[in-house]
């Protein structure tokens, strides 16, 4: 057990180091601008005075390492600076939108994870039959489709033809929970299609992998029913890869929402990021980019830690 804790600590250390390096990259990225931010943002209308005032406002007159430390310290304390576009504090813009993004991702996970695991088990159970082939082909197509294609097909079907759901997922803080679920059902379904395909394929592969081992053959010889073998013998041992797959896909989900948010005009962090990139609102881009990265790395870390804990073999091996 001591061994596991040591490995986990090492893994957490590596993640923290990565986050540190990424924060430096994000910071330096803005530094590397030809000229500097002031010239770029003010553009044609720049006079020496406005540039000077703007530089002082962004504290560009201080040396880079001091500015980096201040920036990082403020970031940790939740102060992300002011937006260049509308002068409002970035933290205020981001917090509500980030909770919306997490809400969409969580709703999707709630639908996709059980569905993917169930479909994966069924595909492994009925492997090499027609059902398996149909599922495999469908999921392979979903993986090859761009997210906006799935999204527009769902819109065309459910909101234009059948008029069941709204094509725009506008939510506001005063909505009830049920109303919110109803509004975001189409974006959640779009994401479900994309993520389930990945998860289901990997669950199927993990279970089939375990089914090839000797103790499964033993159980078969003993005459245990096939469904029971899969649920009681194969599934627990394929749990580690499955948990890993789920967590990695959740990480993908948090980032993958960007396009879906834009399609459905959903007020999430991804849409804010895309808008800010177009407007070159750098403080917002920096803050939301770093938040996305930390969430992504955090979930990947969770994936590794969980699979380390659930797999006794990993407790000894190196990674």
């Amino acid at each position: 057990m001591k061994n596991v804790i040591w490995h986990i600590l090492k893994r957490i250390g590596a993640s923290l180091a990565t986050i540190f390096v990424i924060s430096v990259i994000i910071f330096i990225g803005v530094e590397l601008l030809p000229g500097d931010v002031a010239d770029t943002v003010l553009g044609q209308s720049a006079t020496p005075e406005t540039v000077e005032a703007f530089r002082r406002e962004l504290k560009l007159d201080l040396p880079p390492h001091i500015r980096y430390v201040t920036w990082l310290k403020n970031f940790v304390q939740g102060d992300f600076g002011n937006s260049l576009a509308n002068k409002r504090p970035v933290a205020e813009l981001i917090s509500w939108r980030f909770s919306n993004t997490l809400f969409l991702a969580a709703t999707t996970a709630l639908i996709a994870v059980p569905l993917a695991i169930l479909l994966g088990i069924l595909a492994a159970f009925y492997r090499n039959t027609l059902y398996d082939k149909v599922i495999s082909t469908t999921t392979l197509s979903f993986i090859s489709f761009p997210e906006f294609f799935v999204a527009y097909i769902l819109i065309a079907l459910f909101s234009v033809k059948m008029e069941l759901f709204p094509s725009i997922a506008m939510i506001d803080p005063h909505m009830g929970l049920g109303r919110k679920f109803y509004t975001i059902l189409l974006p959640a379904l779009t994401l479900t299609c994309v993520v389930t395909a990945h998860m289901m394929r990997q669950t199927r592969a993990a279970i089939i992998n375990v089914l090839a081992s000797a103790y499964i053959e033993m159980a078969e010889i003993k005459g245990i029913r096939r469904l029971r073998i899969i649920i009681h013998h194969a599934f627990p041992n394929s749990l580690s890869p499955v948990i890993n797959v789920v967590a990695v896909n959740l990480a993908y989900l948090v980032v993958g929402v960007v396009i879906v948010e834009v399609v459905f005009v959903y007020p999430g962090l991804g849409q804010l990021l895309v808008d800010s990139v177009a407007k070159r609102d750098l403080p917002v881009v920096q803050a939301s980019g770093l938040i996305f990265s930390i969430t992504y790395i955090g979930l990947n870390l969770l994936a590794d830690v969980l699979s380390m804990l659930s797999n006794p073999k990993l407790r000894q091996s190196q990674f």
Binding site: T18, S144, F145, P146, Y152, V160, A251, V255, V277
Partner: protein, 272 residues
């Protein structure tokens, strides 16, 4: 080669057909397209007719023409980017595998950091700083994608590097480039070819996504991702124009994936 093709499964042949069709359209775009790439020739969102095979787009340009030129722009850009990514990635991967030591360590750790950063977010950050232009787009995506190529080519080259013939070449006093060119590259080619297809799909979808977000290929150049974005408003009126370019993207990636699937099947040595 021909006999290999004759044994290929139906899905691979369909995939090959799709890819060849798309390439032909891309190459002969100016001869196929009935109108000019950016010419406004009709009303907004006209329906399918003998004059406009696929109707018109949001400002009255012929959608069929835009699709044809879009194939050319999107596929060419994705192809160049993937090729560049393979040049960077495999070269660094081979050097890391053959040289080993600190070069390998530094490169691998650096790549680890880039890979732990979500790709789309990374690309958005770079584009926000540098602005979106076609060279920036190509270099950014090639850089991000080459990390995957690096991982694979390093692993493949590691396996080849321990073979006797590399040892012999070393003892003969051949240099790094000679070993990479004459010993590693020819042996690493089959797995890298299948990877090329996968990477192409990824890059193609990635560029389409960026264009869809309005940060990729800029109008008035025709491009499938951008066309979905421009025509997105139509869908709420029950006009399915945006589904046509989106469908074309899906069609091509499914086609490439079908070929890749067959390739992976061949190189994994699983013959039923």
């Amino acid at each position: 080669m021909l006999s290999l093709l004759r044994q290929s499964p139906l899905s691979a042949r369909i995939g090959l057909g799709i890819v060849i069709l798309n390439c032909l359209v891309a190459i002969f775009a100016p001869w196929i397209a009935p109108y000019d790439e950016t010419a406004v020739v009709g009303e907004v969102w006209e329906t399918v007719s003998a004059r406009f095979y696929l109707g018109t787009d949001h400002i009255g340009r012929d959608l069929f023409t835009r699709m044809v030129y879009g194939a050319r722009n999107t596929i060419a850009l994705a192809f160049i980017t993937t090729a560049l990514s393979f040049m960077f990635g495999s070269l660094l991967g081979f050097v890391a595998a053959v040289k080993g030591g600190w070069i390998d360590q530094v490169l691998s750790r650096l790549i680890d950091v880039i890979m732990s950063f979500p790709t789309l977010i990374f690309a958005l950050m770079i584009l926000s700083v540098l602005g979106s232009s076609i060279p920036t787009l190509i270099f950014t995506i090639a850089l991000l994608d080459s990390t995957r190529v690096y991982r694979l080519s390093r692993a493949v080259a590691m396996d080849i590097e321990v073979m006797e013939f590399v040892e012999v070449a070393r003892l003969r006093g051949e240099g790094l480039w000679w070993i990479i060119r004459h010993e590693i590259l020819p042996n690493a080619l089959p797995p890298l070819t299948a990877e090329f297809g996968l990477r192409f799909c990824f890059v193609f979808l990635f560029i389409a996504s960026l264009s869809f977000l309005g940060l990729g290929i800029q109008p008035p150049l025709a491009d499938w991702g951008g066309m979905v974005r421009e025509n997105a408003g139509a869908i709420t009126f029950g006009i399915f124009t945006p589904l046509i370019p989106a469908g074309a993207i899906a069609f091509l990636t499914v086609g490439v994936n079908m070929i890749v699937d067959w390739f992976l099947h061949l190189s994994s040595g699983l013959h039923e």
